[in-house]
Symmetry: C2
Subunit: 305 residues, 2 copies
């Protein structure tokens, strides 16, 4: 049943009006801008767009805990970087080691097992792991206004996708429960897989080799590969989402690109350029030029969680 009053956690603002307007126009049967349900695609970034990404993206906390777990079995890890820095909670050193070290961290903690085993490990971790500031489960650090928006779009025949630089298999461990988004509508970074046939049984083993890193232009390319259709709505929160937003806005007919700005230190966090893992700079400076609607967490949301 449709909401009588949609998006109750959104304040009445230009952003909310833009969303309601887009949905009204593309769903109006017989209207010149009508888009059949097959074409109603909405894509969302995950970290910082659907759930909290501060002080670090959740997947880092997962990786850190997994290093602890693995190092209990392999004590030599504590002598090697980047694991030494992780085990010593020396994050300045860790993030100073460069991109390659972060990939090593990701491979050591996310590969060498089957995709099914990995999802189970992530699911177990997410069942108890808590956010350091908010004290609640990470998987409960999702934004209520966004959960409402996802549901509202689906009620109006949209297919809601996640298109994130986060690991696809990590997200698959919780997106159904947290967002009502099925696993196959998750597009993210991924490791290469190996077809493993042993004793007549087949499984897919995650390899320590990058298949794709789903950030920036790759977000648009991945939408082309996985969905094969340009979104009507894209929602992001950093420069990493800009390509997806501009790709979305470049289509004919009504299109909406939304950018969440974290300007609410009291209820969540306030940051733009200064978060080096996911900076917001060009997207904010050029929002008006690029036809991007900025959503202020502080101004536009009645509640955050």
């Amino acid at each position: 049943m449709a909401n009588i009053q949609p998006l109750p956690s959104w304040n009445h603002s230009a952003a909310k009006s833009a969303i309601l307007d887009l949905v009204a126009r593309v769903t109006k049967e017989g209207g010149a801008e009508f888009v059949p349900p097959t074409g109603r695609i909405a894509t969302f970034d995950n970290d910082g767009t659907l759930w909290c990404e501060q002080p670090l993206q959740t997947q880092f906390f997962f990786a850190f805990d997994r290093v602890k777990q693995l190092s209990a079995k392999d004590p030599t890890m504590s002598e090697r970087q980047p694991f030494k820095a992780v085990l010593e909670h020396d994050y300045n050193t860790l993030f100073g080691l460069g991109k390659q070290a972060l990939f090593e961290l990701a491979f050591a903690t996310h590969t060498g097992i089957t995709d099914e085993e990995f999802v189970e490990i992530a699911r177990e971790w997410l069942a108890t792991a808590k956010h350091p500031k908010f004290g609640r489960l990470f998987k409960e650090c999702t934004y209520r206004p966004q959960i409402e928006l996802l549901a509202y779009l689906r009620e109006n025949g949209f297919k809601t996708y996640i298109v994130s630089a986060g690991g696809a298999d990590f997200m698959r461990a919780f997106v159904e429960e947290a967002y009502g988004i099925p696993r196959e509508r998750v597009i993210g970074s991924s490791a290469k897989l190996r077809y493993d046939l042993a004793n007549g049984q087949v499984s897919l083993v995650k390899l320590p080799e990058l298949n794709n890193f789903g950030d920036r232009e790759v977000k648009a390319l991945s939408i082309g590969l996985h969905i094969g259709r340009r979104p009507l709505l894209a929602f992001g929160n950093s420069d990493g989402d800009l390509a997806m937003m501009r790709y979305t806005r470049s289509g004919p007919g009504p299109r909406l690109a939304l950018l969440l700005r974290h300007d609410d230190a009291e209820r969540e966090f306030a940051y733009d350029r200064e978060f080096r893992l996911s900076p917001l700079s060009e997207a904010l400076d050029k929002a008006a030029d690029y036809g991007i609607t900025v959503v202020s967490m502080k101004r536009d949301w009645k509640v955050v969680f």
Copy 2:
């Protein structure tokens, strides 16, 4: 509304019983083998499984016609292989040129334009192009029993996917109309894409470079990447589908792998090993060992088209 008598174009046979049995078991609420709809994934090969692939896969006819079209603008094409062989209808020479020549043919006829332009070109071609033996449109050379099976699975909460070595964008031009399968549930071979930003507008340009060739083991790996869940049912017709079938059968609980055998020269075609573009050999020889159910077109289908 569910069919009172499902799969009317299927004869009562072991294959039909196996399908009905799988669906009954995984959809029985409260049953030990119940699988919630999120987990009900069915994957189908396309060429030779959902529609006719003889005397050649439809995409070859498309490529041949597109060579004619392109060579009208670029007369030098007729002097170069593999285009010369195509224009002279010399298919023995064409298929003797080797795999690289076939990729060149594919790149010349499928890339250098945006994905959206390509789908439009393929759609226009499919609107009028006819099968040389049956005299009807290629897109009407789909198998009626399979259309019924796809619909029956969806009525029972399954998500139906195509996992094919055919070009994903080519299939996206007709799968919604022909099979009721949306574009985003097509997994196939693909060219690399380039993020193209010109005059502030973004589009995705298909490049003459392979992103993936979706045959054999790659079918299973692509299911891992795109769907993130092992199918309950897989349907194929050649050795190229064997990896997907064995991956499916290796999961816990009820799983079904089906292999369509073309043994009906009167109503369609009869071929196994002798079709070099898509041979059936190991899958047929080892079907019993691998737990694969063979479907005989002649014995198990009341009608073909």
